[in-house]
Symmetry: C2
Subunit: 233 residues, 2 copies
DNA sequence: CAGTGGTCTAGACCACGAG
DNA sequence: TCGTGGTCTAGACCACTGC
C-alpha cells in the first residue's frame, strides 16, 4: 500500500482527489472548510489552500468566498497545449529543419482581417508565405501578416535565415492572443506545396497576437497530412 | 498612467513581465534571486515566489535550484483548452442539445486499439456510435469504446437519455488521459451523418482516459463542418 | 559544499458575496 | 453582516544541483 505524505500540499491534493474519485464527496457537494481540513491533516491552512487551489485550477472543484468549496458537477477537461516554434517541434522529433520563404511583400491588410486585426488605416502590413520542411519533406505551410507598427525592424528582414515565427518570438513578445484550430481541404495550390492530394483534410491553426492593444501578427499554419496535435490530460 | 500594486503577487508579476517584454532582462539572462526581488519590492519572499512560479508555469521563465531563474530563450506558447461535455458546449452557444445512439453492442476490442487501450484479453468492450445535435443539426459524430471492467454499470445502460460522454464524467472519473486533434475527410457514411459533402475536411479529436492503470474509454469525435476549437493565450 | 528555489508554519488582515 | 477563501508576512528547514 502506498502511503501519502499528508504534510505536503501534493500529498493532501492526492487525498482530496481520492475522496472525489471515490464519491466520498459527491459532485455538487460542499466539502469542509480549509480550516477544518487543515486541522484534520495537522497542517497549516496555507498548505490546504495550495492543494485546493490546484484542484480548482484543474476544474475539479469550484471555490467561492463565503459559499465554500464544492466538487464540480461537470468537471471540464482542461488540457494544456504547448505550441513550440516549428523548428523546435521538428528537431524534437529528430527531423532536420529548413524553411523557404515563398512570397514576401508589403500590402494593405486584407478586408477579411479588418475586424480581428486592427492596424492603422492605410498602413501596409508585411505579408509572408513560408513553407516549413522536416527532413526535406513539407511539414507546414504558413501565411502571415506582420504589423510593422509593432515590429518595425521586420521591414528590412528577409526571414530567409531565421523564420518569422522564431524572429517574432525573440523580438516582438506578445502579451496575449487568440488561437484556434480547425480543418481545411487542400486546394490545388496547397496540395502542391504540402505534397498532399487535392482535397485532403489538413489540420490548421490560426493565431493572432497582441502586445497590449497593438496587434503584432496574424498567422495561419496548415500542416501536412497526418499531423496530430497531442497532449496529456 | 496606471500604477501597479507591487505588494500583490499579481502586481509583482506585471512588473516582472514588463521587464521581460522591455528586454531589461534579456532572454537567457539570469534575473535576481527571490530574496533580492523581495527586498526591492519590500515584500516577503513568498510573494515574489508566487509571482515567479506563475511566470514559470506559463513558460516565460525557467527556474532551477541553485542555478536561479532565467528568462526563457524560446518561450513556448502554452494554451489551456477547456473541453466541456458536448451538451454544455452546445447549450453555452445557445443551441438546444439532443443526441441519438446509432449503434450499441458488445464486441472485442479492435486490433487497432490493442496497443493504446489495454483491456483484459478476450473481454468484450462496449461500443457506441452516437450523433450529437445542436438545434436539430448534426454537431458531432462519436465512436466510443468503454472498458466494462472500469465501468461495469455501463453494460446495462442504453445511453439514450444521458450521453455516454456525460455519464462517464459523472460515474467513471479518470485520473489521466491522452488527447489529440487532427483532420479527417468525410467519407460517405460520415457525410450523411454530419450533413457534409463527401470529402469535406472535418476537425476531429481522439481521447483515451484511464483511472490509474485501468483504461476507461476511447473516444473519437468528429465535428460537423465549420467547427473551430478556440482559446486565448 | 553552498546557493537557490520549494515548501511549510502560525498568524493576520482583507475582499467578496451569500443569505 | 459575517463566513469563507485570498493573500501577505517573517521565519524556518529542506531538496536539488551547479560548482
Amino acid at each position: 500500500m502506498t502511503l501519502t505524505d499528508t504534510n505536503s500540499w501534493t500529498g493532501i491534493r492526492e487525498v482530496l482527489l481520492r475522496r472525489i474519485h471515490d464519491r466520498i464527496w459527491q459532485p455538487g457537494e460542499q466539502i469542509p472548510h480549509e480550516a477544518d481540513l487543515a486541522e484534520e491533516f495537522g497542517c497549516a491552512r496555507t498548505t490546504v489552500n495550495r492543494a485546493l487551489r490546484d484542484l480548482a485550477d484543474s476544474g475539479l472543484v469550484v471555490r467561492k468566498r463565503k459559499a465554500g468549496t464544492r466538487v464540480a458537477v461537470n468537471p471540464p477537461q482542461r488540457a494544456t497545449l504547448t505550441i513550440p516554434i516549428i523548428r523546435e517541434e521538428v528537431e524534437s522529433i529528430g527531423g532536420s529543419y529548413r524553411h523557404s520563404v515563398l512570397e514576401r511583400d508589403l500590402r494593405p491588410l486584407p478586408a477579411m482581417l479588418h475586424g480581428a486585426f486592427q492596424v492603422s488605416l492605410g498602413e501596409d502590413v508585411l505579408f509572408l508565405k513560408t513553407l516549413h520542411f522536416s527532413n526535406e519533406r513539407p511539414y507546414a505551410f504558413e501565411e502571415r501578416y506582420i504589423n510593422l507598427e509593432a515590429a518595425p525592424a521586420a521591414r528590412d528582414l528577409s526571414f530567409k535565415e531565421v523564420s518569422a515565427n522564431e524572429w517574432l518570438v525573440h523580438n516582438a513578445p506578445y502579451s496575449h492572443g487568440d488561437l484556434s484550430f480547425f480543418a481545411v481541404n487542400a486546394d490545388d495550390k496547397l496540395s502542391g506545396k504540402l505534397d498532399a492530394a487535392t482535397g485532403t483534410a489538413l489540420f490548421a491553426m490560426e493565431r493572432i497576437t497582441w502586445a497590449g492593444d497593438l496587434p503584432i501578427t496574424h498567422v495561419r499554419l496548415i500542416f501536412a497530412p497526418g499531423y496530430r496535435m497531442r497532449t496529456e490530460i
